[in-house]
Structure formats: C-alpha cells, structure tokens
C-alpha cells in the first residue's frame, strides 16, 4: 500500500472514497473564514498556540483511532489520560521520582488499564462501549481519590515535565528535521519504484512521485517558516508528529497493522485466516489507553499542573470527534493515523478562531457538532458508495 498510483486514486474517488480531501478543503475554508474575520488568526503566534493546544487531545485521538479501526469505541480515554497524568505528577512531585521514570510508569499504568479493558472485552464478551463507559467513570473516580484533599498538584515550571511543552527547536535543527523527513520520503519513493520496476510491477509516472516529494517539502518548509517567525518549532509538535508517522508506518507496513485492518473489516475472515483476533483486539485497547496516557502527560505539561478536571470536560468528545472528522470510519477497517492530525487541526482551529472572535462557547459547540455530523455523513455515504 506504499504506492498509490494516480489511476488508483481516481478509481477511489469515483467510488465515493474521498480520502482526506473533504478535511483539507474544510481546513482551507476555516483558514479563509477566520483569517478574514480576524487578522490575528493566521499570525505565527496564534498558529504556534494552535499547535500547542492540539498536541495533547490529538494524541488521545490517535489512540481512539486504534479502536475505531476495529469498529470498537473507547470512552475511557479522557479519564485514563487524566489518571495517568496524576500518577506521573504524584510520583515526580510528591515522591520526588526522576521525571522520566515517572513518565514511563504513568505510560505503563495506561497500558495496564488498556490491557484490563481488552481482557474484559474479549474474555468476558462485554461490549467495548460498556467496558470503557465503566472505565470513564471508574478511572475518573480513582483520579479524584489519588488527588485527595488538595485537588490540585502543580508541576515545577522549570522542571523537565513542564519543560516538554516549553521547548523549541533551534532553526538549524528544525531545518535538519525537514531535510531528513523529505529525504527519507524521497528515498523510500525512489527505492520502491526501482524495486517495483525490477519486479515487473506497474509504477506511477516519476513526475507524480516528484510532485508528492515537492508537496511534502513545501508543506514542511512552510510550517517551519511560520513557526520560526514566532518561538520556533515546538517539541510538542515533534512528539505528536512522530507518533502519527510512526503509527502510520506500523499500520501499513507490518503484519500487525495489516491484521488490525483485517479484524476491523471482517473479524470472522481474519479468524479463519489464522489471525489471533483476540490478541489484536486486546492490543488495540492497550494502544488506545497508552496513547491516552501520553496525551494526558502532554496536557499536564502544558498546564504545569493536574487537578480534578484533568482529562475531563470535553476532551474525550473532542478526541473522538477529531478521529472521525479526520476520516476514520466508525464502521471499522478504514482510516489512517493522519486523521488524528487533520481532525484535531479542524476542531482546534474552530475553537481557537471562535475564542479570538469572542464567540460564546455555546456557538463553538454547535459549530463543532455540525462539522462532526458532516464528517459522519460523508463516512456513511462513502461506505454505501463503495459497497456494491
């Protein structure tokens, strides 16, 4: 699936599978609308803030995608993110642990929670909706219990954890990163093409590859130019981006990833093909909760504190909405990790733009709801269009 030729793309378009284009179009529309209503919206400072705001929920959305790919749902991701952030904070602040060790343990707690959800779902045959609804309530309870009397724990502003969200790549490093990414993408494209030619397989025209490499280069360079005009490329963006790219590579190029899509598409077929469906399901829940833990840690880092509403309020709903708006199918088996990036970009832009315009949050919720409904409608229609 590395090589998506032009005819292939056109074919998919004709089948009603629009891929990422509706979201990209939506983003452009958002940029134009808010940009013209408020000159500050597209300023480097605001775009940098936007990036900082989206990393945590985007990471949680990435986890949601892992379960959506199987046609399941994880309602506990918000609570789990808060719980793990609290665990990390208690270990590092109250017990004086090394922050890195505290982060590792908090992430492992997330994995363990996911394992529990997965086992309950696969061994006790509980619907994922119910298992994770219990998780939503229960882990929130544990969070409040652990926080105890005070209700809030601050992280030292100059500490390692708070520093994660206040670290900026120096320009040379940012440009080096762009060069490495574009170089790797180009090398992969050229090598794959050579190998396909050698194997006598059809290849797409070379100008098509060049176009894609060029497009990526322009996109990344543009981002670096804009972000460098403010404080620089934030480390948070690099972390989130690395998770998105890394998981995408795993999903598309490993047997595990192929089996995720297979189980999401037709679990019975996967089982008969000898795939351990139970293991895949459990792993999906583990991934979801682990990524939720990551997201919670990033959120705590930005706030430099945890409190009773960590991982609460609308974080879960926004993460699910982001995954779906980005193009992940609710019916399982379809979607890529880039959906988390695109979806959270849409949601966060709307939120950010409306705050700039001083629009009440009531309107923001209604607009976000309309966008979500539109995304699900597109998904449902695409599904109908492709099933003959």
């Amino acid at each position: 699936m590395t090589v998506l030729g032009m005819p292939y793309k056109l074919d998919r378009l004709r089948q009603g599978d629009l891929g990422a284009w509706p979201v990209v179009g939506g983003l452009i529309a958002i940029a134009v609308v808010f940009g013209s209503l408020n000159e500050h919206f597209l300023s480097p400072e605001n775009l940098t803030n936007l990036v900082l705001q989206m990393a945590a929920t985007g990471t949680i959305a990435l986890g949601i995608i892992m379960v959506l790919l199987l046609g399941e749902i994880d309602l506990s991701a918000g609570s789990v993110s808060g719980l793990c952030a609290v665990v990390m904070t208690i270990l590092s602040v109250r017990h004086g642990w090394n922050p890195v060790l505290a982060i590792v343990v908090a992430v492992l707690v997330g994995s363990a929670v996911g394992l529990l959800h997965g086992v309950m779902h696969t061994r006790l045959y509980m619907p994922s909706f119910v298992v994770t609804l219990a998780g939503l309530i229960g882990w929130q309870g544990l969070l409040i219990y652990l926080l105890g009397q005070g209700g809030t724990i601050n992280l030292p502003f100059d500490g390692f954890i708070a520093g994660l969200s206040d670290t900026w790549l120096p320009p040379w490093l940012a440009w080096l990163l762009v060069a490495v990414l574009v170089g790797a993408y180009a090398a992969a494209g050229v090598i794959t093409r050579r190998l396909r030619v050698a194997a006598g397989l059809p290849v797409k025209p070379s100008h098509w590859i060049a176009l894609r490499i060029g497009g990526l280069a322009v996109l990344l360079a543009g981002a670096v130019v804009v972000l460098s005009a403010d404080r620089g490329v934030p480390l948070l963006l690099v972390i989130f981006g690395a998770l998105v790219i890394g998981l995408d590579l795993v999903l598309r190029h490993t047997a595990f990833g192929r089996w995720m899509y297979a189980v999401g598409g037709n679990a019975e077929a996967a089982r008969r093909a000898g795939i351990n469906v139970t293991r895949i399901r459990v792993l999906a829940f583990v991934l979801s909760s682990t990524l939720a833990a990551f997201g919670g840690i990033l959120a705590a880092s930005r706030l430099a504190a945890v409190n009773q509403s960590s991982g609460g309020s609308d974080i879960l709903l926004m993460a699910i909405a982001a995954a779906v708006i980005g193009g992940t199918s609710l019916f399982g088996g379809r979607g890529r990790t880039y959906a988390a990036l695109l979806g959270i970009l849409v949601i966060q832009s709307i939120t950010n733009g409306m705050l700039l315009l001083n629009v009440d949050s009531s309107v923001r919720f209604m607009v976000t709801a309309a966008v979500l409904a539109l995304a699900v409608a597109i998904d449902s229609l695409a599904r109908r269009g492709s099933a003959r």
Binding site: M1, G5, D11, A199, N266, A269, A270
Partner: protein
C-alpha cells in the same frame, strides 16, 4: 489420494453423517450433491478440520492423517473456499490473498513480493481484475469468488474444496468461475465442489458423489450418466 472412510457424526439427536465415504484424486473434479441436510457441509468440514468426526478415518496417500484443526488441514495441503468467501472487503486483492500468511521479514510486510505473486497467480488462472489495489468491496461477485479461489491456492495446496461456488452468481460470472475450476484441475489439484446446480455439475465435474441422509447414495462418472439418474439418487426415488 485423499480418502475419508466410514465417517459418522452426530449432533445430539441428528445423525448428520452415518458412515459416509469420499475419495479424491489428483487432476479430478468431484461434485458432491445431495438434498439440504444430507450432510455435505459436515462431510467437507471433517476433511477441512472444522469438525472432528465421531468415527471414521481420513487417509492421505494411504497414510492415516490426523486432522483436528483447520490449520492441520492447511498444512496437509487441504484448502477450503467457504460459501461466504471470508474476504475482508476493506482490503485490496493482494492483502486478501495473503491474509494470515503475509510474506514478511521481522513482521515488515514485503509488499512487492506479494503483489508479484498475486499478479502471477491471477494471470495463471486467467482472472481479470483491472486494478488489484482497490478494496475488494468494489469488485463484482464473480471477481470476489475468483479472489477467494485464488486465495485458496496461495499455500500451494493439493486439495481444494469449494462450497457452493456459483450459488450467488449470474450466468456470465458462473461461466467464469466454472472455467476457473477447470483450470484448477489442469493444475493437477484434487477438486471437490459442493453444488446444487445440476447444469454446473455436469459442465465441470468428472465424477458425482451423492449423499442422502448422511450416507453415500450413489457415485457416477458424469460423462456417462443421465441427469435423471443423479436426481433419483438425490431424492431417493428408485431409478
């Protein structure tokens, strides 16, 4: 080559199989016929490892074969195409063909090797699919059946079992699938086709085995047998 002898299987009060026999040979298409509930699916399942018979033996090349799981059957070279095809609609043809037996090294998929093998196999079978990289959901019924059959060949089996391969297809697509079954015979595979359709059976099979109430009710060389004789065996009317 492969023989099932004296197979019995009870489900509670139902005697699904009562001493049924089946012989398959290389390069021969055998049609398994019988009324609903005659035990066809159950007999096939004992050979493909889905059902363990109460009694009876299965031998491969004269040696007793121990088949207790679908995996056992597959490693002995027995491959089954189920009636519901068991394809993943969201995956492309290549991914479906190699589902569960992906060519990989350290878990990294070898896309090129799998696509090359897919194209070679589909060419050999003369299966025409314009773009093998689109999700299977967008293929026609006949193409999907062809993909399912091609998939059964990926592990280089010696025996291929097809459960009602033409039941859901139109005239033209049925003809395509029957052609494909002939090509399996030309590859010197032992082929077993379960079918209700006498016309299809006469068009493609070398031999017809009829089951009735879990027992063998007749065995015919297709070319020398009239349609009426087969129908009589299926219904139990004296021919």
């Amino acid at each position: 080559m492969i023989s099932a002898t004296g197979i019995t299987k009870r489900y509670g009060a139902v005697q699904a199989l009562d001493g049924a026999n089946l012989d398959l040979r290389e390069g021969e298409v055998v049609a398994l016929m019988g009324d609903n509930g005659a035990g066809k699916s159950t007999l096939v399942k004992t050979v493909s490892g889905v059902v363990i018979p109460d009694e009876g033996t299965i031998t491969l090349d004269g040696r007793p074969a121990k088949i207790t799981t679908p995996h056992d059957a597959q490693s002995l070279g027995i491959s089954t195409v189920y009636q519901d095809l068991a394809l993943c609609e969201n995956l492309d043809v290549v991914a479906n063909l190699f589902l569960g037996s992906e060519r990989r090294r350290w878990s990294i998929l070898n896309h090129i090797k799998m696509e090359r093998a897919t194209r070679d196999l589909l060419d050999q079978l003369d299966v025409r699919i314009r773009d093998i990289r689109v999700p299977v959901a967008s293929l026609s019924g006949g193409q999907r059946q062809s993909v399912a059959i091609a998939r059964a060949l990926v592990g280089d089996p010696r025996v291929v079992i097809l459960d009602e391969p033409t039941a859901a297809l139109g005239v033209e697509q049925t003809a395509q699938v029957l052609d494909l079954i002939r090509r399996l015979r030309d590859r010197n595979l032992a082929v077993l086709v379960i079918s209700h359709n006498l016309a299809d059976v006469r068009a493609v099979s070398d031999r017809v085995v009829v089951l009735r109430l879990g027992r063998n009710a007749g065995e015919f060389v297709t070319a020398d047998t009239s349609q009426e004789a087969i129908v009589a065996a299926i219904t139990g009317a004296a021919a």
